[in-house]
């Protein structure tokens, strides 16, 4: 694995801010690790996009 390329890719994109506590709570509720799409619902800025969130988590 090209570690330097990985670093450059990581550092070139803005770091998404996530609601870690909400993710943990949801993981505990579901009893599993969330999918990438589900985690996306907890990215700050996305989490107020209710269409996506309620589609993934209809019960809230």
């Amino acid at each position: 694995m090209d570690m330097l390329a990985w670093q450059k890719e990581q550092f070139s994109r803005p770091q998404e801010v996530i609601d870690i506590r909400a993710i943990i709570s949801k993981q505990a509720e579901l009893g599993r690790v969330l999918t990438e799409e589900e985690v996306g619902a907890f990215i700050v800025g996305h989490r107020t996009a209710k269409d996506g969130f309620t589609k993934l988590f209809p019960a809230g």
Binding site: M3, L4, P14, Q15, V33, E36
Partner: protein, 169 residues
């Protein structure tokens, strides 16, 4: 002078197997980053993460020897420390490594910083895929689900207990 040292004098030191570590915040110049890579360091420490947060460089020394580096930031809105990058010195890698606990010491420092910042010890990071299992098994990191992992309060306290010790320095 390649490194310009911050004025902080840390009172926290890591003590593992009689090895004493000290922590400093340094500004890494392009020349110094280049010299590190010439010595076998993998990452380019002159490149900064793309973020509005204030990125903190953490350098770990044993004596005068640089043992590891990290970039992290305190996210005061979401209440966690985000660890952008961590690298241990080339002499601490592989079978002939000298110190095997430097990554743990760095993680513990960042976790302790999260506790002291009022973030309950939460640390979030996105490790290289090949190291995810190691972070889980050796350090107790938990997966979030999109390549990221985290330490919660329990994990942070465990790291601090294992890798850090207060001193009166």
């Amino acid at each position: 002078m390649l490194l310009s040292y911050a004025q902080d004098c840390f009172k926290i030191r890591g003590i593992i197997n009689s090895m004493k570590y000290r922590f400093e915040h340094v500004n890494i110049t392009k020349d110094f980053a280049k010299s590190l890579m010439q010595k076998g360091w993998v990452f380019d420490w002159s490149i900064m993460p793309n973020t509005d947060l204030e990125v903190i460089n953490l350098s770990v020394f044993a004596g005068s020897v640089l043992e590891g580096l990290a970039y992290y930031a305190q996210d005061r809105k979401e209440l966690y420390n985000f660890l952008y990058l961590l690298e241990i010195a080339p002499h601490n890698r592989g079978e002939g490594r000298i110190n095997s606990d430097v990554a743990g010491v760095i993680l513990a420092y960042v976790a302790r910083d999260s506790i002291e910042a009022g973030f309950d010890g939460f640390v979030v990071f996105e490790p290289i895929s090949v190291l995810r299992e190691l972070y889980a098994s050796k350090y107790g990191a938990k997966p979030i689900g999109n390549n990221r992992m985290y330490f919660d309060t329990q994990g942070a306290e465990s790291l601090v207990r294992k890798y850090l010790e207060r001193s009166q320095a």
